[in-house]
Amino acid sequence: MKILVCLKQVPHQDARLDIASDGAWIKEDGIKFEINSYDSFALEEALRLKDAGAATEVIVASIGPERVTQALRTALGMGADRAVHVKDPALDGSDALGIARTLAAVAKSVGADAVLMGLMSDDGNASAVGPMIGELLGVPSASGVVKEEKTATGFTVERELEGGALEVVEVSAPCVLAVQTGLNQVRYASLKGIMAAKKKPIDVKTAADLGLAGQVGAGAAKVKIQKIYAPPKGTGAQILKGSADEVVTGLVGKIKELGLL
Protein backbone atom coordinates (compact mmCIF):
# COMPACT_ATOMS: atom_id res chain seq x y z
CA MET A 1 0.00 0.00 0.00
CA LYS A 2 1.28 3.38 -1.08
CA ILE A 3 0.28 6.29 1.15
CA LEU A 4 0.27 9.93 0.09
CA VAL A 5 0.41 12.42 2.96
CA CYS A 6 -0.66 15.97 2.09
CA LEU A 7 1.17 18.61 4.11
CA LYS A 8 0.43 22.29 4.32
CA GLN A 9 3.08 24.68 5.50
CA VAL A 10 1.41 27.30 7.70
CA PRO A 11 2.54 30.32 9.72
CA HIS A 12 4.05 29.20 13.04
CA GLN A 13 1.41 29.13 15.80
CA ASP A 14 3.28 31.83 17.70
CA ALA A 15 3.97 33.98 14.63
CA ARG A 16 2.90 37.60 14.72
CA LEU A 17 -0.11 38.02 12.45
CA ASP A 18 -0.06 41.36 10.64
CA ILE A 19 -2.58 42.06 7.90
CA ALA A 20 -1.10 42.40 4.39
CA SER A 21 -1.65 45.60 2.40
CA ASP A 22 -4.35 44.00 0.24
CA GLY A 23 -6.27 43.32 3.46
CA ALA A 24 -7.05 39.77 2.38
CA TRP A 25 -4.28 37.74 4.05
CA ILE A 26 -1.44 38.15 6.52
CA LYS A 27 2.05 39.46 5.82
CA GLU A 28 4.16 36.39 5.19
CA ASP A 29 7.53 38.16 5.00
CA GLY A 30 9.84 37.48 7.89
CA ILE A 31 7.60 35.07 9.80
CA LYS A 32 8.39 31.49 10.67
CA PHE A 33 6.49 28.65 9.02
CA GLU A 34 5.88 25.11 10.22
CA ILE A 35 4.06 21.97 9.10
CA ASN A 36 0.34 22.29 9.89
CA SER A 37 -0.13 20.55 13.24
CA TYR A 38 -2.98 18.36 12.00
CA ASP A 39 -0.89 17.22 9.01
CA SER A 40 2.08 16.25 11.18
CA PHE A 41 -0.20 13.80 13.02
CA ALA A 42 -1.27 12.39 9.62
CA LEU A 43 2.38 11.96 8.60
CA GLU A 44 3.18 10.20 11.87
CA GLU A 45 0.21 7.88 11.35
CA ALA A 46 1.41 7.03 7.82
CA LEU A 47 4.96 6.37 9.06
CA ARG A 48 3.56 4.06 11.76
CA LEU A 49 1.60 2.13 9.12
CA LYS A 50 4.85 1.72 7.23
CA ASP A 51 6.78 0.72 10.38
CA ALA A 52 4.09 -1.91 11.04
CA GLY A 53 4.44 -3.30 7.52
CA ALA A 54 0.95 -2.15 6.46
CA ALA A 55 2.33 0.37 3.97
CA THR A 56 5.16 0.02 1.50
CA GLU A 57 5.85 3.65 0.69
CA VAL A 58 5.05 7.04 2.23
CA ILE A 59 5.06 9.96 -0.21
CA VAL A 60 4.56 13.52 1.00
CA ALA A 61 3.11 16.30 -1.13
CA SER A 62 2.84 20.01 -0.55
CA ILE A 63 1.77 23.04 -2.56
CA GLY A 64 3.50 26.38 -2.25
CA PRO A 65 6.55 28.51 -2.96
CA GLU A 66 10.21 27.68 -2.33
CA ARG A 67 9.83 27.85 1.49
CA VAL A 68 7.73 24.66 1.34
CA THR A 69 10.91 22.69 0.57
CA GLN A 70 11.79 23.02 4.25
CA ALA A 71 8.55 21.31 5.34
CA LEU A 72 9.12 18.52 2.83
CA ARG A 73 12.74 18.06 4.00
CA THR A 74 11.48 17.78 7.58
CA ALA A 75 8.95 15.13 6.52
CA LEU A 76 11.65 13.22 4.63
CA GLY A 77 13.87 13.48 7.71
CA MET A 78 11.09 11.95 9.79
CA GLY A 79 11.01 8.97 7.44
CA ALA A 80 8.89 9.71 4.37
CA ASP A 81 10.36 8.07 1.26
CA ARG A 82 9.97 10.82 -1.30
CA ALA A 83 8.22 14.11 -1.91
CA VAL A 84 6.21 15.95 -4.51
CA HIS A 85 6.40 19.74 -4.42
CA VAL A 86 3.79 21.50 -6.53
CA LYS A 87 5.45 24.85 -7.09
CA ASP A 88 3.73 27.14 -9.53
CA PRO A 89 2.66 30.80 -9.21
CA ALA A 90 -0.35 29.80 -11.35
CA LEU A 91 -1.71 28.15 -8.20
CA ASP A 92 -1.68 31.39 -6.19
CA GLY A 93 -5.17 32.38 -5.11
CA SER A 94 -6.59 28.87 -5.45
CA ASP A 95 -9.58 28.13 -3.26
CA ALA A 96 -9.98 24.82 -1.40
CA LEU A 97 -11.39 23.16 -4.51
CA GLY A 98 -8.36 24.24 -6.57
CA ILE A 99 -6.03 22.83 -3.90
CA ALA A 100 -8.07 19.60 -3.76
CA ARG A 101 -7.92 19.25 -7.57
CA THR A 102 -4.17 19.63 -7.45
CA LEU A 103 -3.68 17.09 -4.66
CA ALA A 104 -6.14 14.66 -6.28
CA ALA A 105 -4.02 14.88 -9.45
CA VAL A 106 -0.87 14.20 -7.41
CA ALA A 107 -2.58 11.21 -5.74
CA LYS A 108 -3.44 9.82 -9.17
CA SER A 109 0.01 10.45 -10.59
CA VAL A 110 1.75 8.58 -7.77
CA GLY A 111 -0.89 5.83 -7.64
CA ALA A 112 -1.75 6.36 -3.96
CA ASP A 113 -3.85 3.67 -2.27
CA ALA A 114 -4.61 5.98 0.63
CA VAL A 115 -4.37 9.74 1.13
CA LEU A 116 -3.77 10.94 4.69
CA MET A 117 -3.91 14.53 5.84
CA GLY A 118 -5.09 16.71 8.70
CA LEU A 119 -8.74 17.46 9.38
CA MET A 120 -8.04 21.16 8.85
CA SER A 121 -5.22 23.68 8.63
CA ASP A 122 -4.14 25.96 11.45
CA ASP A 123 -4.53 29.01 9.20
CA GLY A 124 -7.62 28.45 7.02
CA ASN A 125 -9.45 26.18 9.51
CA ALA A 126 -11.74 24.97 6.72
CA SER A 127 -11.83 21.13 6.90
CA ALA A 128 -12.45 21.19 3.17
CA VAL A 129 -9.63 19.65 1.17
CA GLY A 130 -9.73 16.03 2.41
CA PRO A 131 -13.40 15.32 1.65
CA MET A 132 -13.05 17.21 -1.65
CA ILE A 133 -10.17 14.96 -2.76
CA GLY A 134 -12.37 11.96 -1.91
CA GLU A 135 -15.22 13.27 -4.04
CA LEU A 136 -12.97 14.25 -6.96
CA LEU A 137 -11.35 10.79 -6.97
CA GLY A 138 -14.69 9.05 -6.41
CA VAL A 139 -13.38 7.26 -3.31
CA PRO A 140 -14.60 7.21 0.31
CA SER A 141 -13.34 9.73 2.85
CA ALA A 142 -13.51 10.02 6.61
CA SER A 143 -12.89 13.22 8.57
CA GLY A 144 -11.88 13.59 12.19
CA VAL A 145 -10.18 10.19 12.30
CA VAL A 146 -8.68 9.31 15.70
CA LYS A 147 -7.79 5.69 14.97
CA GLU A 148 -7.39 3.54 11.87
CA GLU A 149 -6.68 -0.10 11.37
CA LYS A 150 -5.63 -1.66 8.09
CA THR A 151 -7.99 -4.37 6.84
CA ALA A 152 -7.81 -6.66 3.80
CA THR A 153 -9.79 -4.17 1.71
CA GLY A 154 -9.03 -0.80 3.27
CA PHE A 155 -9.38 0.56 6.79
CA THR A 156 -11.63 0.42 9.80
CA VAL A 157 -11.57 3.93 11.22
CA GLU A 158 -12.89 5.70 14.29
CA ARG A 159 -14.20 9.22 13.78
CA GLU A 160 -14.53 11.64 16.65
CA LEU A 161 -18.09 12.81 17.33
CA GLU A 162 -19.35 15.25 19.94
CA GLY A 163 -19.06 14.68 23.69
CA GLY A 164 -16.38 12.00 23.43
CA ALA A 165 -18.44 9.58 21.28
CA LEU A 166 -16.82 7.76 18.38
CA GLU A 167 -18.19 6.45 15.09
CA VAL A 168 -16.68 3.27 13.67
CA VAL A 169 -16.71 3.13 9.85
CA GLU A 170 -15.28 0.74 7.28
CA VAL A 171 -13.82 2.33 4.16
CA SER A 172 -12.37 0.49 1.20
CA ALA A 173 -9.08 1.63 -0.34
CA PRO A 174 -8.31 3.84 -2.12
CA CYS A 175 -9.64 6.34 0.37
CA VAL A 176 -8.93 9.67 2.05
CA LEU A 177 -8.49 9.91 5.82
CA ALA A 178 -8.45 13.37 7.43
CA VAL A 179 -7.10 12.98 10.95
CA GLN A 180 -7.70 14.77 14.23
CA THR A 181 -4.81 16.03 16.31
CA GLY A 182 -3.59 13.94 19.22
CA LEU A 183 -4.05 10.46 17.74
CA ASN A 184 -0.35 9.72 18.17
CA GLN A 185 2.88 11.23 19.44
CA VAL A 186 4.63 12.83 16.49
CA ARG A 187 8.28 11.82 16.17
CA TYR A 188 11.16 14.20 15.64
CA ALA A 189 13.49 13.82 12.70
CA SER A 190 16.67 12.14 13.94
CA LEU A 191 20.08 13.39 12.85
CA LYS A 192 20.48 10.19 10.84
CA GLY A 193 17.07 10.79 9.31
CA ILE A 194 17.96 14.34 8.36
CA MET A 195 21.19 13.18 6.72
CA ALA A 196 19.35 10.44 4.82
CA ALA A 197 16.69 12.95 3.72
CA LYS A 198 19.27 14.90 1.75
CA LYS A 199 19.46 12.03 -0.71
CA LYS A 200 15.70 11.53 -1.02
CA PRO A 201 14.05 12.98 -4.12
CA ILE A 202 11.71 15.99 -4.19
CA ASP A 203 9.82 15.94 -7.45
CA VAL A 204 8.87 19.50 -8.47
CA LYS A 205 5.69 19.84 -10.53
CA THR A 206 3.65 22.63 -12.10
CA ALA A 207 -0.11 22.80 -12.61
CA ALA A 208 0.47 22.06 -16.30
CA ASP A 209 2.52 18.95 -15.42
CA LEU A 210 -0.56 17.69 -13.58
CA GLY A 211 -2.89 18.54 -16.47
CA LEU A 212 -4.54 21.31 -14.49
CA ALA A 213 -3.70 24.42 -16.50
CA GLY A 214 -6.61 26.86 -16.22
CA GLN A 215 -8.44 24.75 -13.60
CA VAL A 216 -6.67 26.14 -10.56
CA GLY A 217 -5.46 29.48 -9.22
CA ALA A 218 -7.23 32.77 -8.61
CA GLY A 219 -9.01 32.69 -11.99
CA ALA A 220 -10.71 29.39 -11.24
CA ALA A 221 -11.47 30.12 -7.58
CA LYS A 222 -15.16 30.21 -6.73
CA VAL A 223 -14.69 31.69 -3.29
CA LYS A 224 -12.23 34.27 -2.12
CA ILE A 225 -11.36 36.12 1.04
CA GLN A 226 -12.42 39.72 0.68
CA LYS A 227 -11.05 40.93 3.96
CA ILE A 228 -9.25 39.65 6.99
CA TYR A 229 -9.25 41.49 10.30
CA ALA A 230 -8.92 41.20 14.06
CA PRO A 231 -12.26 40.06 15.52
CA PRO A 232 -14.24 43.01 16.83
CA LYS A 233 -13.65 43.43 20.55
CA GLY A 234 -16.63 43.10 22.82
CA THR A 235 -16.59 44.66 26.24
CA GLY A 236 -14.13 41.90 27.09
CA ALA A 237 -12.61 41.16 30.43
CA GLN A 238 -11.88 43.79 33.04
CA ILE A 239 -8.07 43.71 33.10
CA LEU A 240 -6.43 43.94 36.51
CA LYS A 241 -3.44 46.25 36.41
CA GLY A 242 -0.52 46.73 38.75
CA SER A 243 2.25 44.66 40.26
CA ALA A 244 1.94 40.88 40.61
CA ASP A 245 1.02 41.32 44.28
CA GLU A 246 -1.64 43.90 43.44
CA VAL A 247 -3.32 41.75 40.79
CA VAL A 248 -3.22 38.73 43.12
CA THR A 249 -4.98 40.80 45.80
CA GLY A 250 -7.58 41.74 43.18
CA LEU A 251 -8.07 38.10 42.16
CA VAL A 252 -8.44 36.92 45.76
CA GLY A 253 -10.95 39.72 46.38
CA LYS A 254 -13.03 38.58 43.42
CA ILE A 255 -12.93 34.91 44.44
CA LYS A 256 -14.10 35.93 47.93
CA GLU A 257 -16.88 38.05 46.42
CA LEU A 258 -18.04 34.99 44.46
CA GLY A 259 -18.34 33.21 47.80
CA LEU A 260 -15.75 30.62 46.84
CA LEU A 261 -13.17 31.49 49.44
Binding site: S141, G163, V168, V223
Partner: protein, 314 residues
Protein backbone atom coordinates in the same frame (compact mmCIF):
# COMPACT_ATOMS: atom_id res chain seq x y z
CA UNK B 1 -33.08 32.03 -4.94
CA UNK B 2 -33.69 28.80 -3.07
CA UNK B 3 -31.74 27.85 0.04
CA UNK B 4 -31.59 24.20 1.06
CA UNK B 5 -31.15 23.66 4.80
CA UNK B 6 -29.96 20.21 5.75
CA UNK B 7 -31.49 19.11 9.04
CA UNK B 8 -29.76 16.66 11.30
CA UNK B 9 -31.45 14.11 13.54
CA UNK B 10 -29.82 13.61 16.92
CA UNK B 11 -31.25 11.27 19.55
CA UNK B 12 -34.56 10.94 17.73
CA UNK B 13 -35.32 14.57 16.98
CA UNK B 14 -34.10 17.38 14.77
CA UNK B 15 -31.24 19.06 16.62
CA UNK B 16 -31.25 22.70 17.59
CA UNK B 17 -28.41 23.55 15.19
CA UNK B 18 -30.73 22.63 12.29
CA UNK B 19 -33.22 25.31 13.35
CA UNK B 20 -30.32 27.76 13.60
CA UNK B 21 -29.72 27.09 9.90
CA UNK B 22 -33.22 28.42 9.16
CA UNK B 23 -32.41 31.65 11.03
CA UNK B 24 -29.18 31.88 9.02
CA UNK B 25 -31.10 31.26 5.78
CA UNK B 26 -33.49 34.13 6.61
CA UNK B 27 -30.42 36.37 6.91
CA UNK B 28 -29.41 35.42 3.38
CA UNK B 29 -32.96 35.94 2.11
CA UNK B 30 -34.71 33.55 -0.24
CA UNK B 31 -37.02 30.56 -0.31
CA UNK B 32 -36.12 27.98 2.30
CA UNK B 33 -36.44 24.28 1.65
CA UNK B 34 -35.36 21.57 4.01
CA UNK B 35 -33.90 18.10 3.81
CA UNK B 36 -34.04 15.31 6.37
CA UNK B 37 -31.98 12.17 5.85
CA UNK B 38 -32.58 8.94 7.76
CA UNK B 39 -34.65 5.81 8.02
CA UNK B 40 -38.25 6.04 9.24
CA UNK B 41 -37.71 9.77 9.70
CA UNK B 42 -41.12 11.01 8.51
CA UNK B 43 -42.06 12.46 11.90
CA UNK B 44 -38.80 14.38 12.20
CA UNK B 45 -39.22 15.74 8.67
CA UNK B 46 -42.76 16.80 9.55
CA UNK B 47 -41.53 18.63 12.66
CA UNK B 48 -38.72 20.34 10.72
CA UNK B 49 -41.21 21.45 8.05
CA UNK B 50 -43.75 22.81 10.53
CA UNK B 51 -41.19 24.61 12.67
CA UNK B 52 -39.79 26.69 9.86
CA UNK B 53 -38.23 24.73 7.05
CA UNK B 54 -41.55 24.87 5.16
CA UNK B 55 -41.17 22.34 2.42
CA UNK B 56 -38.97 19.42 3.39
CA UNK B 57 -37.52 16.64 1.25
CA UNK B 58 -37.26 13.31 3.01
CA UNK B 59 -34.50 10.90 2.03
CA UNK B 60 -35.92 7.92 3.88
CA UNK B 61 -34.02 4.69 3.27
CA UNK B 62 -33.04 1.79 5.54
CA UNK B 63 -29.46 2.25 4.25
CA UNK B 64 -29.49 5.77 5.71
CA UNK B 65 -30.42 4.70 9.24
CA UNK B 66 -26.95 5.80 10.34
CA UNK B 67 -24.75 8.57 9.03
CA UNK B 68 -22.86 7.51 5.91
CA UNK B 69 -20.58 9.93 4.09
CA UNK B 70 -21.47 8.61 0.65
CA UNK B 71 -25.20 8.29 1.37
CA UNK B 72 -25.42 11.80 2.81
CA UNK B 73 -23.45 13.31 -0.07
CA UNK B 74 -25.75 11.62 -2.60
CA UNK B 75 -28.91 12.67 -0.75
CA UNK B 76 -27.84 16.31 -0.49
CA UNK B 77 -26.85 16.42 -4.17
CA UNK B 78 -30.24 14.89 -5.09
CA UNK B 79 -32.07 17.49 -2.98
CA UNK B 80 -30.12 20.30 -4.66
CA UNK B 81 -31.15 18.95 -8.06
CA UNK B 82 -34.81 18.56 -7.00
CA UNK B 83 -35.07 21.98 -5.35
CA UNK B 84 -32.92 24.01 -7.72
CA UNK B 85 -31.19 25.41 -4.63
CA UNK B 86 -28.30 27.78 -5.20
CA UNK B 87 -27.18 27.80 -1.57
CA UNK B 88 -26.90 24.78 0.72
CA UNK B 89 -26.59 25.25 4.49
CA UNK B 90 -25.22 22.41 6.62
CA UNK B 91 -24.36 22.56 10.33
CA UNK B 92 -20.63 22.34 11.04
CA UNK B 93 -20.98 19.20 13.13
CA UNK B 94 -19.02 15.92 12.81
CA UNK B 95 -21.34 14.74 10.03
CA UNK B 96 -21.43 18.21 8.44
CA UNK B 97 -17.67 18.54 8.16
CA UNK B 98 -17.45 14.99 6.86
CA UNK B 99 -19.78 15.43 3.88
CA UNK B 100 -20.29 19.16 3.13
CA UNK B 101 -17.04 19.74 1.24
CA UNK B 102 -17.70 16.57 -0.77
CA UNK B 103 -21.07 17.96 -1.79
CA UNK B 104 -19.37 21.20 -2.87
CA UNK B 105 -16.77 19.36 -4.95
CA UNK B 106 -19.45 17.12 -6.46
CA UNK B 107 -21.56 20.12 -7.48
CA UNK B 108 -18.53 22.17 -8.57
CA UNK B 109 -19.79 24.72 -6.06
CA UNK B 110 -18.10 27.32 -3.90
CA UNK B 111 -17.45 26.13 -0.35
CA UNK B 112 -17.49 28.24 2.80
CA UNK B 113 -16.65 26.50 6.06
CA UNK B 114 -17.87 27.26 9.58
CA UNK B 115 -19.54 30.61 8.86
CA UNK B 116 -20.98 32.36 11.90
CA UNK B 117 -22.50 35.38 10.18
CA UNK B 118 -23.52 36.83 6.84
CA UNK B 119 -23.14 40.57 6.26
CA UNK B 120 -22.92 42.79 3.16
CA UNK B 121 -22.92 39.82 0.81
CA UNK B 122 -20.06 38.07 2.60
CA UNK B 123 -19.89 35.08 4.91
CA UNK B 124 -17.97 35.73 8.10
CA UNK B 125 -15.79 33.04 9.62
CA UNK B 126 -12.91 32.60 12.03
CA UNK B 127 -9.43 31.78 10.76
CA UNK B 128 -6.01 31.21 12.39
CA UNK B 129 -7.62 29.25 15.23
CA UNK B 130 -9.79 32.18 16.29
CA UNK B 131 -7.16 34.91 16.08
CA UNK B 132 -8.57 36.60 12.97
CA UNK B 133 -11.91 36.87 11.16
CA UNK B 134 -12.35 36.62 7.40
CA UNK B 135 -15.10 37.82 5.08
CA UNK B 136 -15.55 35.34 2.27
CA UNK B 137 -17.50 35.87 -0.94
CA UNK B 138 -18.64 33.27 -3.44
CA UNK B 139 -18.92 33.94 -7.16
CA UNK B 140 -20.13 30.43 -7.96
CA UNK B 141 -23.55 29.47 -9.31
CA UNK B 142 -23.95 27.27 -6.25
CA UNK B 143 -22.45 27.65 -2.80
CA UNK B 144 -22.26 25.13 0.02
CA UNK B 145 -21.85 26.65 3.48
CA UNK B 146 -21.31 24.98 6.83
CA UNK B 147 -22.59 27.07 9.72
CA UNK B 148 -21.13 27.13 13.21
CA UNK B 149 -23.57 25.63 15.73
CA UNK B 150 -24.68 28.25 18.24
CA UNK B 151 -23.85 31.14 15.90
CA UNK B 152 -27.48 32.23 15.70
CA UNK B 153 -30.68 31.56 17.60
CA UNK B 154 -32.84 28.62 16.56
CA UNK B 155 -35.73 29.73 14.32
CA UNK B 156 -38.94 29.89 16.27
CA UNK B 157 -41.53 30.81 13.69
CA UNK B 158 -43.77 28.31 12.03
CA UNK B 159 -44.45 27.52 8.43
CA UNK B 160 -47.10 25.61 6.55
CA UNK B 161 -45.13 22.45 6.53
CA UNK B 162 -45.20 19.80 3.89
CA UNK B 163 -42.90 16.93 3.19
CA UNK B 164 -42.00 15.23 -0.04
CA UNK B 165 -40.22 11.92 -0.58
CA UNK B 166 -36.82 12.27 -2.24
CA UNK B 167 -35.45 9.36 -4.24
CA UNK B 168 -31.81 8.62 -3.47
CA UNK B 169 -29.77 5.85 -5.05
CA UNK B 170 -28.22 4.02 -2.12
CA UNK B 171 -26.76 1.10 -4.03
CA UNK B 172 -23.07 0.39 -3.52
CA UNK B 173 -22.40 2.97 -0.82
CA UNK B 174 -18.65 3.49 -0.49
CA UNK B 175 -18.45 3.56 3.30
CA UNK B 176 -20.00 1.23 5.84
CA UNK B 177 -21.22 2.29 9.26
CA UNK B 178 -20.24 -0.21 11.95
CA UNK B 179 -21.26 1.30 15.27
CA UNK B 180 -21.21 4.33 17.50
CA UNK B 181 -19.13 3.91 20.63
CA UNK B 182 -19.52 5.96 23.74
CA UNK B 183 -16.16 6.79 25.22
CA UNK B 184 -15.23 4.99 28.41
CA UNK B 185 -16.42 6.56 31.67
CA UNK B 186 -14.34 9.53 32.70
CA UNK B 187 -12.02 8.95 35.61
CA UNK B 188 -11.71 12.69 36.06
CA UNK B 189 -15.20 14.16 35.90
CA UNK B 190 -15.07 17.93 35.46
CA UNK B 191 -18.75 18.36 34.67
CA UNK B 192 -19.72 18.64 38.33
CA UNK B 193 -16.71 20.66 39.52
CA UNK B 194 -17.48 24.02 41.16
CA UNK B 195 -14.03 25.39 40.52
CA UNK B 196 -11.76 24.46 37.62
CA UNK B 197 -8.20 25.69 37.12
CA UNK B 198 -7.16 24.92 33.54
CA UNK B 199 -3.83 25.20 31.81
CA UNK B 200 -3.02 25.55 28.12
CA UNK B 201 -0.05 25.52 25.79
CA UNK B 202 1.33 28.50 27.74
CA UNK B 203 2.05 26.23 30.70
CA UNK B 204 4.85 24.92 28.52
CA UNK B 205 5.71 21.53 30.02
CA UNK B 206 3.95 18.57 31.67
CA UNK B 207 5.72 18.97 35.02
CA UNK B 208 4.52 22.56 35.24
CA UNK B 209 0.96 21.25 35.62
CA UNK B 210 2.01 19.41 38.77
CA UNK B 211 4.15 22.28 40.03
CA UNK B 212 2.00 25.31 39.17
CA UNK B 213 -1.57 24.53 38.07
CA UNK B 214 -2.54 21.61 40.33
CA UNK B 215 -1.47 23.42 43.56
CA UNK B 216 -3.83 26.31 42.78
CA UNK B 217 -6.68 23.89 41.99
CA UNK B 218 -5.96 22.11 45.30
CA UNK B 219 -5.79 25.36 47.29
CA UNK B 220 -9.17 26.43 45.90
CA UNK B 221 -10.67 22.96 46.48
CA UNK B 222 -11.23 22.64 42.73
CA UNK B 223 -10.21 20.39 39.88
CA UNK B 224 -7.55 20.76 37.21
CA UNK B 225 -8.44 20.94 33.52
CA UNK B 226 -6.57 21.52 30.26
CA UNK B 227 -7.02 22.64 26.68
CA UNK B 228 -6.64 20.41 23.65
CA UNK B 229 -2.98 21.13 22.72
CA UNK B 230 -1.95 19.97 26.21
CA UNK B 231 -3.73 16.65 25.76
CA UNK B 232 -2.55 16.30 22.15
CA UNK B 233 1.03 16.73 23.33
CA UNK B 234 0.50 13.93 25.85
CA UNK B 235 1.10 16.20 28.86
CA UNK B 236 -2.20 15.17 30.46
CA UNK B 237 -4.71 12.41 29.65
CA UNK B 238 -7.82 13.13 27.58
CA UNK B 239 -10.04 13.09 30.67
CA UNK B 240 -8.61 16.51 31.61
CA UNK B 241 -9.62 18.10 28.31
CA UNK B 242 -12.20 20.87 28.36
CA UNK B 243 -13.76 21.68 25.00
CA UNK B 244 -16.02 20.51 22.21
CA UNK B 245 -14.31 17.13 21.98
CA UNK B 246 -13.59 16.93 25.71
CA UNK B 247 -15.83 17.85 28.60
CA UNK B 248 -18.40 20.64 28.56
CA UNK B 249 -18.14 22.29 31.96
CA UNK B 250 -20.24 24.77 33.92
CA UNK B 251 -18.33 25.57 37.14
CA UNK B 252 -18.95 28.58 39.36
CA UNK B 253 -15.38 29.69 38.64
CA UNK B 254 -13.16 28.83 35.67
CA UNK B 255 -9.57 29.99 35.82
CA UNK B 256 -7.80 29.77 32.45
CA UNK B 257 -4.01 29.92 32.67
CA UNK B 258 -1.96 30.18 29.49
CA UNK B 259 -4.98 29.30 27.33
CA UNK B 260 -5.39 31.47 24.23
CA UNK B 261 -9.05 30.54 23.73
CA UNK B 262 -9.45 28.61 20.49
CA UNK B 263 -13.11 28.15 19.60
CA UNK B 264 -13.14 24.44 20.51
CA UNK B 265 -12.05 25.34 24.02
CA UNK B 266 -14.49 28.23 24.42
CA UNK B 267 -17.38 25.95 23.47
CA UNK B 268 -16.49 23.78 26.45
CA UNK B 269 -16.21 26.45 29.14
CA UNK B 270 -18.17 29.55 28.22
CA UNK B 271 -21.07 28.26 30.32
CA UNK B 272 -19.03 28.89 33.47
CA UNK B 273 -20.59 31.35 35.88
CA UNK B 274 -17.38 33.38 36.17
CA UNK B 275 -14.22 33.22 34.10
CA UNK B 276 -10.80 34.56 35.04
CA UNK B 277 -8.02 34.47 32.42
CA UNK B 278 -4.28 34.80 32.92
CA UNK B 279 -2.32 35.13 29.69
CA UNK B 280 0.74 36.99 28.48
CA UNK B 281 -0.90 37.91 25.15
CA UNK B 282 -3.30 40.85 25.60
CA UNK B 283 -4.99 39.94 22.29
CA UNK B 284 -5.75 36.34 23.29
CA UNK B 285 -9.40 35.54 22.45
CA UNK B 286 -9.86 34.15 25.99
CA UNK B 287 -10.10 37.74 27.27
CA UNK B 288 -13.25 38.18 25.17
CA UNK B 289 -15.16 35.56 27.16
CA UNK B 290 -13.53 36.17 30.55
CA UNK B 291 -15.00 38.63 33.03
CA UNK B 292 -11.68 39.31 34.73
CA UNK B 293 -8.23 39.12 33.22
CA UNK B 294 -4.57 39.45 34.04
CA UNK B 295 -2.11 40.16 31.24
CA UNK B 296 1.08 38.70 32.61
CA UNK B 297 3.33 35.77 33.31
CA UNK B 298 1.35 32.87 34.76
CA UNK B 299 4.52 31.50 36.41
CA UNK B 300 4.71 34.68 38.48
CA UNK B 301 0.99 35.18 39.14
CA UNK B 302 -0.27 31.64 39.79
CA UNK B 303 2.15 30.64 42.60
CA UNK B 304 1.48 33.98 44.35
CA UNK B 305 -2.26 33.42 43.94
CA UNK B 306 -1.92 29.89 45.36
CA UNK B 307 -0.09 31.26 48.40
CA UNK B 308 -2.66 34.05 48.86
CA UNK B 309 -5.58 31.59 48.63
CA UNK B 310 -3.92 29.32 51.21
CA UNK B 311 -3.34 32.34 53.48
CA UNK B 312 -6.97 33.47 53.11
CA UNK B 313 -8.18 30.00 54.05
CA UNK B 314 -5.89 30.05 57.09
Amino acid sequence: MTILVVGEIQKGSVREASYELITFAKKLGGDVKGLIIGSGCGAEAEAFAKKGAGSVYVADEPALANYNVDGWTRAIKAAVAASGATTVLISNTPSGWDCAARVAAGLDAGFVSDAFDFADGAFVRRVFNGKLDAKVVSSAAKTVVTVQPGACKPFEGSADGKTEKLAVDVSGLKAKFVETKVAAAKGHDLTKAEIIVSGGRGVGAPEKFTEVIQPLADALGGQMGASRPVVDAGWLPHEYQVGSSGQIVTPKLYLACGISGAIQHLVGMKGANYIIAINKDPDAPIFEVAQLGVVGDLFEIVPKLTAAVKAAKG
